[in-house]
């Protein structure tokens, strides 16, 4: 594939209301945190250029409303995603419990070609807050059970680990897209991405 071709990566952020999806997206794209963000109604996205292995790609990051009632709207935006970011709040156990249904719903609605290999990334947000309700270990176990989803512990407020997490997200999205393009073009000698090439599980630096 020509490396000068413009690449657009579509990334969807999902998770319960108030886990910090909007804050994470803004921290990553605009490098700032504000407690004046409003609850998301409908959907919006921000774009950011990133360089991955000397390639400049544009990430289109979609933020939708987390409240259950609006989920039926969100699904309109899932299509064509290259990576799905799941977010929970490490201080709110219910937001962790919802992860399965977010993931399942995404797979059903976005209907990716290879659901088992579709890249997800999990973010445990608000690690700056006490008390914690979900340990890193518990989150990692969940990730392992889901075909080794990469896990990062973040704080949108302090900007902790956000950059690293989104870089991994971009890489996974790009790998996904390349893989899809491979399928399209049937290039037999292209590198097929496997799980080992993703950032390994628990590569996040946050000590817990």
């Amino acid at each position: 594939m020509a490396s000068n071709k413009k690449v657009l990566l579509k990334v969807i952020i999902l998770g319960d209301s108030s886990v910090g999806k909007t804050s994470l997206m803004n921290q990553y794209v605009n490098r700032k945190f504000s407690n004046q963000y409003k609850a998301t109604i409908g959907a919006d996205f921000l774009t950011k250029e990133v360089t991955i292995d000397d390639r400049t790609v544009t990430m289109q990051i979609w933020d939708t409303a987390g409240q259950e009632r609006f989920q039926s709207l969100g699904v309109a935006f899932y299509r064509g995603a290259d990576c799905c970011v799941l977010v929970f709040d490490v201080t709110a156990p219910n937001t962790f419990k919802s992860l399965d249904s977010w993931r399942d719903e995404f797979l059903i609605q976005a209907a990716p070609r290879e659901p088992d290999n579709f890249p997800f990334v999990l973010l445990g947000n608000k690690v700056d807050l006490e008390p914690r309700a979900i340990s890193a270990k518990r989150a990692q176990q969940w990730c392992q059970s889901k075909n080794d989803i990469p896990y990062f512990e973040t704080s949108a407020k302090e900007g902790l680990n956000v950059e690293q997490a989104f870089l991994a997200i971009a890489k996974n999205a790009l790998a996904q897209q390349n893989q899809t393009v491979d399928l399209y073009n049937e290039f037999p000698d292209q590198i097929k991405l496997t799980n080992t090439q993703r950032p390994s599980n628990g590569s996040d630096s946050c000590a817990c």
Binding site: S17, Q36, A39, F45, Q60, F70, S72, P115
Partner: protein
């Protein structure tokens, strides 16, 4: 892929395609959702003849076939997951076994009906029917047309015949388009226009939606493209001559029926204190409610009297109440509020733990209160008392209407009310009044929002069919990008002062029901050249609409929206569907005696219609609200 097709490459794919009809071996896949591909041997070497085929593959995960309207379906994840098609077989294996392939050479006819495409070989039996769930099959057809010599059938423009490239029919078809000698120009608009030659029917509709921007409406004078107007006009009339009339039986362009000319409705000054005070009788009853409402509709309310006026507008104070009645009412309502507040305030921790529905709502409210208008001084800073009030009113509303509880967006609706009416019980009852007006926005299954967005599209289609068609062909007919507008009545789009003005204008219920949808139509129409001229798709439209936030000229939009209402009302081709949305009486054929059409809600109207029978005859097709509205407009402008 199968071995025999290993030289093929995938040049197109589209997901969300449902198999509706197919040969018997595919019966297990009827109603399954899959992806459609076009495979081609097309390579750069050009030595072999190019072969192409079409393939439909089921997804390995399927969704209940009765859930047609997928985007709005309330999806029960767990259930659906267990219904995978693949069973014990790996998905890939299953897919390979089961994919429907059609050789391009075999396609002789394609019929389009709504979102369905049916493929025929020479026989009368269809090869298969595919339903494009996510909107139009426009791109797909367009692509077919680039590979096959396709033209619309003379009998039915929705049937595409595959012509032999050198058949007389196809030649003739091409000739008609050759009449358009258009200057080459690389702008997307011109490319589009040129495309008409190559892809007759569907893209022409698209192109004409653009042409209309330039020809019929001539937006933004000074723009380069305007200079080309003459050429376009000529080309258009040539198309008209060559195709619509003399060229064939099928119609290429249907000019939509024209609406009456739009009138201007400049905004007026807000209702002043003196005007308001002068309306009260000595026992504190409002004399002429309708003319007060008209004044409010025309210009809003002066901030000085706003608090009191809102209590009427939000049905806290009955319009026909005396001062004494209101005083008694307030005493009772304040008590009622505190009773309800006490109910949740006195929950013990144990009760709450055993009442997860309640606990969930409580935590949701807490989270949203912290994110509501914190940029405004009134709600800024930590430990702000007003945040506490916001919280308490929303919590009390949960007790008042537990079935609804709390849904995001509600804190947005309460915030301006509380800013104006600092007193908790009064603000609560006004909030209740507001919620009653748009409670269906918060339906658990979103049915109310779905209806409204659907109605918005219907209205837009009536007022600006070109733009509606454009949105439709760009996967936007669901109007999702207007979701926020409709859910909280433009709260997020307007500045705080404007929100208050806008809402009080809308609360009057003038000039018609669902006026906020006409405001939405006005804004979309205002943006049409941006949206269509830039050839925006779903993503760009959403972004563009979101970025209008805080840049809307509210007065201009209200002015336009009112103009649109009168255009609709006076249109010759006004349909019952539109009448229903804006609340005009229906003219279904069962009504022989137009006199009976008038339905009077309030006793006031009844009296007036009896004492002036002529008036009711004159205005047979106008609702009582309008009668008074028209009347008061006259009294105001004459």
């Amino acid at each position: 892929m199968d071995e025999e097709f290993k030289d093929y490459i995938d040049i197109f794919s589209q997901d969300g395609v449902l198999l509706k009809q197919a040969p018997s071996s595919f019966i297990p896949f009827i109603n399954a959702i899959g992806t459609i591909y076009i495979w081609s041997t097309e390579t750069n070497d050009g030595t072999r003849p190019i072969k192409r085929f079409l393939e439909w593959k089921p997804n390995d995960v399927t969704i209940d076939s009765d859930v047609q309207d997928q985007e709005w379906a309330v999806v029960n994840t767990v259930q659906k997951r267990s219904r995978t098609l693949s069973g014990n077989l790996p998905a890939d294996h299953y897919n390979k076994l089961r994919s429907l392939k059609i050789n391009f050479e075999d396609i002789k006819r394609v019929a389009k009906k709504n979102r369905d495409l049916t493929f025929f070989d020479g026989s009368s039996e269809p090869m298969c029917t595919l339903l494009f769930q996510h909107g139009d099959c426009f791109y797909f057809i367009d692509l077919l047309k680039t590979y096959l010599s396709v033209g619309p059938s003379r009998r039915d423009k929705n049937i595409f015949i595959v012509y032999d490239a050198d058949s007389p029919e196809y030649q003739e078809l091409n000739k008609t388009f050759a009449a358009l000698d258009i200057k080459p120009n690389d702008s997307s608009f011109w490319t589009m226009f040129k495309n008409i030659k190559e892809h007759p029917y569907e893209s022409s509709l698209m192109a004409f939606s653009k042409v209309s921007t330039y020809v019929y409406r001539s937006v933004e004078p000074g723009n380069n493209d305007i200079l080309l107007n003459d050429d376009l006009q000529r080309s258009l009339s040539e198309i008209d001559d060559n195709i619509t009339h003399s060229g064939g039986d099928y119609e290429l362009v249907q000019k939509p029926p024209q609406l009456p000319k739009r009138k201007e409705f400049p905004r007026c000054k807000p209702l002043r204190e003196e005007q308001w005070k002068a309306q009260f009788t000595c026992d504190g009853k409002l004399e002429d409610v309708e003319s007060i409402k008209t004044l409010i509709f025309r210009g809003g309310v002066s901030p000085k009297i706003r608090e009191e006026v809102w209590k009427f507008l939000l049905d806290y104070y009955p319009w026909d109440s005396t001062l004494a009645e209101r005083e008694a009412l307030v005493i009772a309502k304040v008590q009622e509020y505190y009773d309800m507040k006490l109910q949740w305030k006195s929950f013990t921790k144990a009760q709450e733990n055993n009442f997860s529905d309640f606990a969930q709502r409580k935590s949701l409210i807490e989270k949203d209160v912290n994110r509501t208008d914190r940029n405004l001084d009134f709600y800024a800073g930590d430990n702000n008392q007003n945040l506490q009030k916001l919280n308490d009113i929303l919590m009390t509303y949960v007790m008042y209407n537990f079935d609804l509880g709390y849904v995001q967006g509600m804190s947005d609706l309460l915030s301006p009310i509380l800013m104006l009416i600092g007193n908790e019980p009064d603000a609560f009852w006004c909030f209740v009044g507001f919620m009653n007006k748009l409670i269906s926005n918060f339906d658990i299954d979103q049915a109310g929002m779905k209806d409204q967005l659907g109605n918005l599209f219907t209205l837009l289609n009536f007022v600006d069919p070109f733009l509606a068609k454009y949105l439709e062909t760009h996967d936007c007919a669901n109007m999702f990008f207007c979701f926020r507008w409709v859910l909280v009545w433009f709260k997020r789009e307007l500045k705080q002062e404007d929100v208050m003005r806008f809402w009080e204008v809308l609360w009057t219920g003038y000039p018609c029901q669902n006026f906020h949808l006409l405001v939405a139509v006005a804004i979309l129409e205002h943006e049409r050249s941006e949206l269509m001229g830039n050839d925006y798709g779903f993503t760009e439209i959403l972004k563009h609409i979101n970025e209008l936030s805080c840049h809307l000229d509210m007065d201009l939009m209200l002015n336009k929206a009112e103009g649109i209402f009168f255009q609709i009302k006076e249109a010759d081709h006004l349909t019952d569907q539109i009448r229903f949305i804006v609340g005009l009486p229906l003219i279904g054929n069962h009504c022989t005696d137009s006199h009976e059409l008038i339905h009077f809600d309030s006793p006031d109207c009844l009296v007036s219609s009896e004492s002036h029978p002529k008036c009711s005859v004159d205005r047979v097709s106008i609702s009582p609200d309008e009668i008074s509205f028209d009347k008061s407009i006259q009294s105001n402008f004459l």
